[in-house]
Amino acid sequence: MITRGSIAIRLSLTLGLCAAVFWLGAVGISGYVIKHELGESFNQTMRQSALRLLPLAMHEFEDLIYEGEYEGEEARFISGLTEQGSNLDYFVTNRSGKILIFTGSDFPNQSNISIAPGFSTLNGAPAFALRDEKSGFGILVVERAGLREEFLRESLKAMLLPLAALFPILVALAYFVVRAAMNPVWKLGRVIAKRHGRNLEPLDIGPQPRELAPIAREVENLLERLKSALQAERAFAAESAHELRTPIAGALAQVQVLRNALDKNPNQIFAIQAEEALQNLSALSENLLQLSRLEAGFAVSPMAEDLCPIIDLVLGEHEFASNKGRIILNGGPQALKAHIVPDAFAIVLRNLLRNAFLYGDGDDKITIAYGVNWLSVSNDCAALDPALLEKLTQRFVRGNETIHGSGLGLSITSGIIEDCGGTLICASPIAGQHRGFEAKFKLP
């Protein structure tokens, strides 16, 4: 199965990103509100400044006019305030719009200025003009260009900077919280992962969080149903074997009686051929039944089985007992034990022995060797073609076309061994020799 990224990491990143997006949204809205409020506040400042400064300027200029000192004078320039951080410049004008006094960093390039009272812009800078209709004096307060944007930028920066620091902290925090919250999920996952063909026991993991309880319950139900289905399939396969064997046995026995009755009769050959056909049918149906049992997953045992008595049992069967002189049994000091059901092991051993008897040369010995968790059956024969050796465990592949085998024995054996978590290795020639064939398997 392809594993995708961790849910905890994805969830924490998503949570972090969502928080960041909301934060940015909040900053955007705040920026909009701040911009509006700053505009109002700065406008109010300009207006209040104009309202305070114009009477003072009028008072100053009225005194000068009255004392005859003002006529024809150049406009007075009050410099340096801007350099001290002043953000507002103002111009005081007379009725004709002539600039009487002004502040700022530089002289204005015009001597007259005419702006309608109220808020407006002057060279892109916000401005507020106020005029005293009676005296004709006016004042124009001009705010430094870009001041409001600068304030807005600073405010936004102040709101955004914490996000940069908070984002990784938020993600890390979310990660640890999610991890802690997902512990029951991981525990459930680990328990489910332990279930397999050999272990279909109930989960038995105690009370689960509300979100996981239905999953755990359904998995348990599924395991139960799977167990029942497998048992039913195995029982069906075993039952089918029983139902099929009896009629074949009857037909075979009848033909053998007929063959004996036709002793020395020329027609006996037909009975012999019928018997041979039935023997082949019997062997083939047996192999097909084994295949169906294999498909039903009957091979794996939940507990380690002692297989030595099964070796004795199989060797005691007529088929092998009548050739006992050809079989050499080399058992290790310890019993052969593995998670394989005795019937499956018996099938494996029978198939390996039949294979050795079928393809072994003449009356040469067949060796069964075994250790704690492995078994091998070897026989003497000419070394096999490596290409054929590779295909031997495939269905309907025979080592020698002149020999009548079903071509299923090694395939079934290999399937059973693989089901039990082991591997069947076929070697020819046998390691360290120039001839022979060895089938060896090791089980976990």
């Binding site: 064997r245 009629p247 053998q256 009686v257």
Partner: protein, 219 residues
């Protein structure tokens, strides 16, 4: 030897009966366990061929009951159940051998001979009685080095006598081994077959003890 065949499949049962009879054994064939119980209540059998799945019960339960009442009649289980556990259960229940269907009738013959030999404690299947050699396992009899053909009923009488070599076998016992062949037998059937055996194998092979029975001399 008289054999009780307990098998519910008609085709298989008839073939086994025919084959075993051909080997010179008397065969009674029943298809149910209650019939088997009745048969065993009235007759002593030399061997039982027992199927496990029968219409009125499990063959294994029948075997266990048999052994529980200390009946040591040899039993060969013939069944389609090849599971190791069933086989072990069968052997543990007291079966002397176990044959999984389908099997060769020759294999059945060999098992039958081996089990009955084991039961009779006859170590050597080929018994030498004077100039006559009898191989009970392979059903071969030679007189003066020449193989002699015997009919099934002649074999049944000879088998019964050789298995009890040196011991007197009553006429009733010999009749039992002949009854199993199904046909009615005459009151002098035993005398007829003993006479035929003497003709084929020599007059000294079977000794008559008047009013008691017959025996072949101990080696």
């Amino acid at each position: 030897m008289r054999v009780l065949l307990i098998e519910d499949d008609h085709i298989l049962g008839s073939a086994i009966r025919s084959h075993v009879a051909q080997q010179g054994h008397g065969v009674d064939w029943v298809k149910r366990l209650d019939e088997a119980r009745d048969a065993m209540a009235t007759m002593t059998y030399g061997l039982l061929l027992l199927d496990l799945g029968l219409p009125d019960g499990r063959g294994l339960d029948f075997l266990k009951t048999l052994r529980a009442r200390r009946d040591n009649t040899p039993v060969i289980i013939t069944t389609a159940q090849d599971q190791v556990a069933v086989r072990i259960e069968g052997l543990n229940a007291g079966a002397d051998d176990y044959l999984v269907k389908p099997f060769n009738l020759d294999e059945l013959t060999a098992r039958l001979a081996a089990v009955s030999r084991r039961f009779d404690a006859v170590a050597d299947p080929a018994v030498q009685i004077g100039e006559v050699s009898v191989d009970l396992g392979r059903r071969i009899v030679r007189a003066a080095q020449k193989e002699v053909d015997l009919t099934s009923r002649e074999w049944a009488v000879l088998d019964s006598l050789v298995r009890n070599q040196g011991t007197l076998v009553s006429k009733a016992q010999l009749e039992d081994s002949l009854y199993a062949f199904g046909a009615e037998i005459e009151s002098n059937a035993v005398e007829v077959f003993v006479s035929r055996l003497r003709k084929k194998l020599g007059k000294t092979l079977i000794v008559t003890t008047r009013g008691l029975g017959y025996k072949v001399p101990a080696a």
